[in-house]
Amino acid sequence: MPSIKITKKSKEDKSNNIPASPTNAENLTGNLQSDLERFKTIFFFPQNKDFVIRTIRLKGFHLDGAILYLSGSSSINALTSNIIKPLMESAPENKEDNPIDYIVNNIITSKNSQSISKISDITKDIVKGNTIVLLQGFPEALSISTTEFEHRPVEKPVNENVIKGPKEAFVESADTNRSLIRKYLKCESLVSESIEVGEQSKNDIYMMYIKGIADPNLVNAVRKKIKSIKTDFLPNVSILEQFIEERSYSLLSTILYTERPDRAAAFLSEGHIVLITDGSPGCLIVPVTFWAFFHAAEDQYQRWFYGNFIRIIRLLAVVISLLTPGLYIAIVNFHGEMIPSDLAVSIAAAREVLPFPVITEILLMEISFELIREAGVRVPITIGPTIGIVGALILGQAAVEANIVSPVLVIIVAITGLSSFAVPETALSYTIRISRFILLIAGASMGFLGISLVLVMGLAYILSITSFGVPFMSPVAPHYPSSNDNYLRAPTFKQWLRPANISQLNPIRKKSKRK
């Protein structure tokens, strides 16, 4: 059996054997034929059907040239009407001018063009969708932006729905996503830096923040972290999130993924940083605190009373979905006296015919529920309704009638499941779903004491973690000045303070009416 040994060194050796990739110092020669040959080897020309070389004669300049682009990455419409047509038809007014400059300034009608001479830069530009014009006798090339990738139109959010508020979501195009954010934040100091990541596939990561509000140290830290990523392929922000997060093995996520541009804009205005890439219908927000996972966009859009009402309901949902199974088993096994006697009798009567101990029952039901949940996500839409039938009928009714679980337990599992759907963020939802089992075991082994000890240790852990240096439970603990937008929120006119745990550059959002 042949063995394949992969070491880091063998990878380096292999990369040396690839002739095509251009070195950093390589420049254009000015000889059209030899330059074209170079690009043909770089892009594996005859096999690679997407790489197009179109020769062109510039009548007005009496020059031969060539146009290079990757079909699929650049817009054919822009190419023909903004580049080829004007180049063929126009002539210079003054023949002594440098044709490259003249073409850039007077002929090309495209939105963006520049001259470059490094072969590596040109290659990069072609990959990104730009069109390159080479001219005989000039060691410079024109790079004209014609990028156009296919993507879907802006649609409604799928996961973060609201009743009242904007109903548009990010799509898989970084340009569109940035434009969506700029629509909400018309602010001259909103900066979007681009950072290139990936050795094979060169993907741009856009880092957006508001200068003067975002903490410069934070911006530097995030930039450094992104630049330090070593990978050959970084397709979207979901992978980026796993590259830049601090604790990969932790149960808690410290980076927020949102698909709502209005939410991203709101975070930007508080001094957070937004990361956007092509290929993700969402963006990342760093740094975030627990409250970002707990809040929903709707809380701020609904009036003060209604917004706080739904927040209390959701806080309840977090507590219920985290604790109910653990509390149930703790009460049944250890603190039976807590149950009112009537209820205790009915629970005992229902349990009389059951063969299993409570912990088996509850694990059985919890795992079945998680199965339904996972199956519901993976199932093809056409056979989706089956899940409902299987879940409701077989697991609920049949299990009770077959005396495998008690009816009370079905209620417990149902209310737990329902509450976990009310948790707005999937990351937090996963955390709660997993910790529920830990608390279940704690409750089964030591009752309320076990639950409390696990809870307090968990709390100590949550309080100790940070997201890019920001304590996860701040501004509550440790306390920082803020608009107290955590458990509840203040009326909009009173939220005049930016949270100091994120940035302290420009703490006053607007002047308070009352002094």
Binding site: H335, P340, F448, A477, H479, Q504
Partner: protein, 364 residues
């Protein structure tokens, strides 16, 4: 203006630490200790102790203001030299250690006698110590955050318990107001000032607090709230049982949680209070373990006190398992300790202040 990453704790966090260190005493055997001496007026003892300790605390504040960024440990070493300083700190360390041992065993006994009758004591002890050590490992900042985060919860539960026990309170039990006589009350208040002595002890964390002002206010507020709560609960205990019955009860707080009920359906709520009480207790032990480790670290010249924590845990576990009849032990040993220590604790900061004054440290 708060600096963002200054690694210090503020007013709220330190206030919560003080509350947990002092206020949580109302849930252990401390009230019984006082009731045996002060009878039906024993609720005044914590107030008097609080006022007495305040005098000592004012001397300490003056010292802390003079020596900025110096903790109590540094000040002791600075003023009394390495030799005497070592013994003074050793005494402090032993105090904390003794208190840790007594209270872990105390709380484990409460759990064992009232809630987990069939669980061996050693497992309960281990569970309490493991949780506390885990919290202590996170360091003072996290302990502060944890205290502040759980403070509203514990506070609400205390208030809730007072409201629930309201209907069974008989305020006639409080009279005659003087109890065993004002003189006894005053004397016991002074002697038992060690029940609120944590505000002196916690000044070993002074450099970790953002500013002198925040430190002072946090201590005063924490002391005030704690003393008020201990007194209110003692009134509750006295008015529920009468002082005679009360002095034969071992765990008044847990007993009162067994008495209260919320309507016809929630008749037995002790497990509910047990949950929150456990949270408070483990947070408190976390703080205590960290304080013990800090003191021990300064004795052994260890830079990172956290390295001492596992050894402390083992020592506390072994010592806590030693006594056979713990209830008797608590009352006898604590009585001895309390009476020895009150003098030391009360005189520590005036003594240091006098030394500083004599040395002429206040002149520059």
């Amino acid at each position: 203006m708060i600096k963002k990453y200054d690694n210090k704790i503020g007013f709220r966090e330190f206030f919560a630490i003080v509350f947990f260190a002092i206020g949580m005493k109302l849930t252990d055997t401390t009230p019984i200790l006082l009731v045996k001496l002060g009878l039906n007026a024993s609720w005044m003892i914590p107030i008097i102790s609080g006022m007495i300790i305040l005098v000592s605390f004012l001397f300490l504040l003056s010292l802390l203001k003079r020596y900025k960024n110096k903790s109590l440990i540094d000040i002791i070493y600075h003023l009394t030299g390495k030799f005497f300083g070592f013994f003074m700190i050793l005494l402090l360390f032993l105090m904390v250690l003794e208190y840790l041992v007594v209270s872990t065993r105390d709380y484990a006994d409460i759990l064992n006698t009232l809630f987990y009758l069939r669980t061996p004591l050693k497992y309960l002890l281990i569970m309490l110590i493991v949780a506390a050590i885990y919290i202590a490992y996170k360091g003072l900042n996290i302990i502060g955050s944890l205290c502040w985060f759980t403070y509203p919860l514990i506070q609400l539960v205390f208030v809730f318990l007072i409201l629930l026990s309201w209907e069974q309170l008989d305020f006639n039990y409080l009279f005659p107001l003087g109890g065993s006589g004002m003189r006894t009350i005053l004397k016991e208040g002074v002697v038992h000032s060690s029940i609120v002595s944590e505000i002196i002890l916690l000044s070993i964390f002074f450099p970790k607090v953002r500013s002198y002002k925040e430190y002072r206010n946090a201590n005063l507020a924490g002391l005030g709230i704690s003393v008020i709560f201990i007194s209110i609960f003692m009134i509750c205990f006295i008015c529920t049982y009468g002082y005679l019955a009360l002095s034969s009860i071992t765990y008044p707080y847990q007993q009162i949680t067994r008495l209260v009920s919320l309507g016809r359906f929630a008749k037995n709520m002790e497990a509910f209070f047990l949950g929150f009480w456990t949270i408070g207790v483990s947070v408190r032990f976390g703080a205590y373990f960290y304080a013990a480790a800090t003191l021990g670290g300064s004795l052994l010249k260890i830079k990172n006190p956290k390295t001492l924590l596992p050894y402390l845990a083992i020592v506390v576990y072994i010592l806590a398992r030693l006594p056979e009849n713990f209830t008797e032990y608590v009352f006898s040993v604590r009585k001895v300790w309390v009476t020895i220590l009150w003098g030391y604790l009360l005189s520590l900061s005036p003594f240091l202040w006098t030394v500083a004054k004599l040395k002429g440290e206040y002149k520059t």
